[in-house]
Symmetry: D2
Subunit: 283 residues, 4 copies
């Protein structure tokens, strides 16, 4: 459920009585009308998470909200209606996720402005995708050039004011520094299996092991590339008759589906980071 | 997410600003701690639905809640913690749903007390199921005896104080009177297909039509037996190789899964009726 | 499982002993190596369906196969390796299925040559999609112009030698004549629900009814537009919180997924028509 | 698709031209009528697997089949119609899989004779399940008694002629010796996640990691308990709101569903072992 005209308030704090009453009361006095409220009280960890979408004739008074936040020692953020995040999409040779994100953007599904496409391969590598006028940056990476190229990437992000980086099957591992700098604003997609496999050529490993399901996981990037907080996951059924190439083909479908959902949730402020995990209020 | 110790408050009214603030404020003043809040604002229909689960040292003051309700002209109900509904389960020859419900009840998944099993067939028809000490009532139905048998059923429900009737593959159509009397407290399960089929032997029709998915729908009973407000649905994938008997077998799995979920949602007060549809806050 | 180098033999006949032995024996003597065999014996209807994919140094002797066919009064077809069907894609304003088909074609997933895009709307209506060099034909349809436009469409199909027509959310109903002429070589996609809905604005009807799943069905076109033999179906879970617009958005995902699977099965000769139903041997 | 009256022939060998022709020809000459044929040619590994279900007035001549097998150096087995395997079900405290298997057996879904239930806990531990007349064996296991108890288990299997052992949430690890002795005739069920987790309390680990799907895997037992050849897998969607207890509850559903499917496939001779993986021809 997307309310294009709604402000979104995100609150995180320790779980205490009166939280919903205090925040909703403050919004009511500010003339707001709540159209969607999701909360999660993690009683075991004593943590509280809330997302409120509300309409209002005028933006609510931040001082009033800050006063409530101070009372509960809460972390809070307020997002205006119709916000569109500036997004950098990074890609290597496989462009199915890129193609999917750009199509969804063009028909208005994703509230983003793609302000750059970055690839470690030249533009020809992704020629199946119409990237239109979006600036394309070729940043080839070797062990030697990695620090310099990451510096260029960082400069690009800073200069463009990018708020989100999407690794749309970008096959280079970001450095720990870069991952740390991007914490909470960089989403990666990777294949997932039951059980998991370590190392190279995972679809070949899954084939050798005879798994009956292949999956994909979208997560925030942390230093440990494939181990960040999970945003979304899904699977596809396969069989013994599928070759590794078939698995790769079927994997494309679940990868692009999972990544686009995760990006959409992030853009709608439906994901709240909670240490190693996330709270996700799906639309 | 089940909070066995939580009270549950259900609110339905027209959508107006201040609803969340008013109800949560009232609960806070009553010493309650909200552990789960779900709401749905149907802006097109101007309807508001809310479910609040809260813990409290003492039951909240009903007068305070009634005052809030009066202010918003709201319909409200309050359920105490650890409530177990008294349930009548009705069955014919197919007992897979009955078996599943009783097993889940025995291991504590379903907050109910099955106080009667009613069948239009004798006990031997469901002998694959261990019904233990639950009273079994054989109410055979013919066109002639139907009014009398429905009167006995009604008496049984009234005498036992049953709060919910589950039609667990009960193959007799209830009369309009009976359906109306049970409105909102009687759940039925039936097969569903894409597209739907009218008339007898639906699995045979689905086979003849070559459908690739079979499904099941759990819904509240209304006069129009298979058209009441939908609580839960699910599907299973099938193929041309499945005979009608295979469809019936595979249908059993999805029927029992969908019915048990629907019953569980109802028992946890997660379903709110809204005319021809429902608002369901899944656990 | 796709074997690009394999010939494909399709056999349909009455079910009789010795069928597999006769056909596989004939292929063996012709020097073929079977890499994939799927058969379906519909014992109730006394029908037999078989798909054999085989590699061979040289194309097998058609006379030998014809002799086997004559013995069993069988309908048979033989397709060479690496065959690519010529395809006309028809579209209206919603271009998500078109975009998906073209992307899959570009990366080599679909063994087709799109030789024309036909729309009843001008090219600008589908501008979110890069149609590259594929000829675009604007054939606007009114009640008066329909016969003439269908004649143009028919001429286009004949002139280009198109073997398959894909209705990729083409919102015009083909005439009975046109549907009949395209029988078995025209695939349509449409939304499906449990239960089904007749008439206009089906997503709005589904919303009003509170369904919990929405689906899509790909089928061969017959005179009865949405009732032809089903090739593939799938569903997505939804909730009360989804507005009709949300349903339409979520429907796009399942529509494009189901249509691309159906087209792929058809292109790989994995679908055999059987009256009102199909036999599908999925990859 | 189950043909109760069908013989089942299983063939495994190196992939060579003429295999289908030779076997089907031999069966035809023996008067058999093939009702179902599934084959898998693993071209990368040069392995061939086939399952043929056929009806015949009389059992086919084994000498003829043996001659074909000799020609291809094939491993083969022939199973008579209406075969019912003798099965030992092992369980600990969680009895949802046991309850499900016994119910399916009672209504005729599983072609087995449960000839013993073995538990490391006393009968009272599984009192939610009606085990009827099936002999119950309490074999408590400690580090000291394990060899002796496994000897008793082995004697039980030998004396009863059990052909299959199902570990229906049996929480003791079998010794390497026992696992090796039971290779290919012992099915285990365990939870699975994306990614996988090692060590104790996996549902708690999954909760801490914030996974969005939980799954289950049924596999043949090998020395490495949870790493044997996979027969079947499935998943359930979960959310941040699910406590570890909720995960355990939702895990029960997927565990019992996956195990019963795997056991059914095994009983119908639809699973062929292939080193570390399986070939499964689902019904």
């Amino acid at each position: 459920m997307a309310h294009a005209d709604a402000h979104v308030l995100i609150v995180t704090c320790a779980s205490r009585p009166g939280l919903v009453a205090a925040w909703s009361g403050c919004l009511f006095q500010a003339g707001a009308n709540i159209v969607e409220i999701d909360q999660h009280a993690d009683l075991a960890e004593d943590r509280f998470f809330m997302r409120i979408a509300f309409t209002a004739a005028a933006p609510p008074d931040r001082a009033g909200l800050a006063a409530v936040a101070a009372r509960f020692d809460a972390h809070w953020r307020l997002y205006p209606p119709r916000g569109r995040q500036r997004v950098v999409i990074m890609v290597s040779k496989f462009d199915h996720c890129l193609a999917d994100l750009l199509y969804r953007w063009r028909i208005g599904e994703l509230a983003m402005d793609p302000i750059a496409i970055v690839s470690n391969h030249p533009r020809e590598a992704t020629q199946a995708v119409d990237t239109g006028d979006i600036p394309f940056h070729h940043l080839p990476v070797t062990r030697e050039t990695k620090p310099a190229q990451e510096a260029r990437l960082r400069a690009l992000i800073e200069e463009t004011g990018a708020e989100l980086v999407v690794l749309a099957r970008y096959m280079q591992v970001l450095s720990d520094d870069m991952s740390g700098w991007l914490a909470g604003r960089c989403i990666n997609i990777h294949h997932s299996f039951l059980p998991g496999f370590k190392g190279a050529r995972p679809y070949h490993q899954a084939h050798a092991r005879g798994v009956k399901l292949i999956g994909a996981t979208a997560h925030y990037v942390t230093g440990d590339l494939d181990e960040g907080p999970i945003i979304e996951q899904d699977v596809e059924r396969i069989s013994h008759a599928d070759t590794p190439d078939d698995l790769i083909r079927k994997g494309r479908d679940v990868e692009r589906r999972v990544l686009s959902r995760a990006v959409n949730y992030h853009l709608q402020h439906r994901v709240i980071l909670d240490g190693h995990r996330t709270v996700v209020f799906p639309d």
